[in-house]
Amino acid sequence: MKVYKFLSAGATGPLSGFCWPVPRPGGPAAWVRAEGPLRLCANGTHVCRAAELAHWIHDELWEMEIDGEQLEGIDCLVVRRARLIRPVDGWLGDGPRRFAETSARHAAELAAEAAPERAAAARALAEDALSAAREGFVSVSAFASALAVARLGEPSEQDGLYRRERAWQSAWIARVVLGA
């Protein structure tokens, strides 16, 4: 099973601030090992599978190698040992912007097909998403796209619609960026 991790520029954890050791010329990166009990959001390395990618979008996308104990998380996997293998080439260059613009257009298409009473808020969010994509704010854009689709439903349906759109986004990344 391949697993991945999004990081801030410079191989840094976006929320933890942890600076990941990067692969050395001609050799792999050093392993990072968590001490103590693994706990979701509290202890251990958090990685994601291809189907979960869109929940964690950030500057750099890395393929990871993992080892040892694992804990199933929410949209993620918490592991005992991990190391960076290589940055995903498809997330370099214009890949993130293409993803964000495609996601925004997908949300706009769904909004265009929706009933008028639901469509206005969704269209506005999809326009925001497209603007953010063109400005290079990829994670903001993808979030706005998923929210736009969520707003097409009744309140009780919105979480499910949001997750479905995130799944669509993840599938796009897997297909186009990872080549899966």
């Binding site: 976006p14 933890s16 601030g17 968590a34 979701l40 958090h46 929940h55 929410i74 979030f143």
Partner: protein, 92 residues
């Protein structure tokens, strides 16, 4: 936060819940939703970083020290130490 969906979570709530988040007082479900919001919201992420740096600095102040305001150099040094930390226990 009562297991709010990420769809309903707004920035004002995130700001209000930052200390709860840093204090590990949230359920894992709520932490995941909050982190998913933070990753898509640069202003909330910046706020989190500021609160973290402030708390780290406050921890360094000993009770028996004069309550002088720290200088800019102290703040910067504290923030750098915080940003370099992360080995051993903790989320990554």
């Amino acid at each position: 936060m009562k297991s709010r969906s990420v769809v309903d979570l707004v920035c004002q709530e995130v700001v209000e819940l930052v200390t709860e988040y840093l204090g590990q007082e949230m359920s894992p479900e709520d932490r995941v939703r909050m982190e998913q919001h933070l990753l898509a919201c640069p202003p909330c992420t910046a706020h989190l970083a500021q609160v973290r740096a402030t708390l780290a600095l406050a921890r360094e102040l000993r009770e028996d020290e004069p309550a002088d305001a720290p200088g800019e150099g102290d703040l910067v040094a504290s923030f750098r130490r915080w940003s370099r930390s992360g080995s051993g226990e903790g989320p990554r």
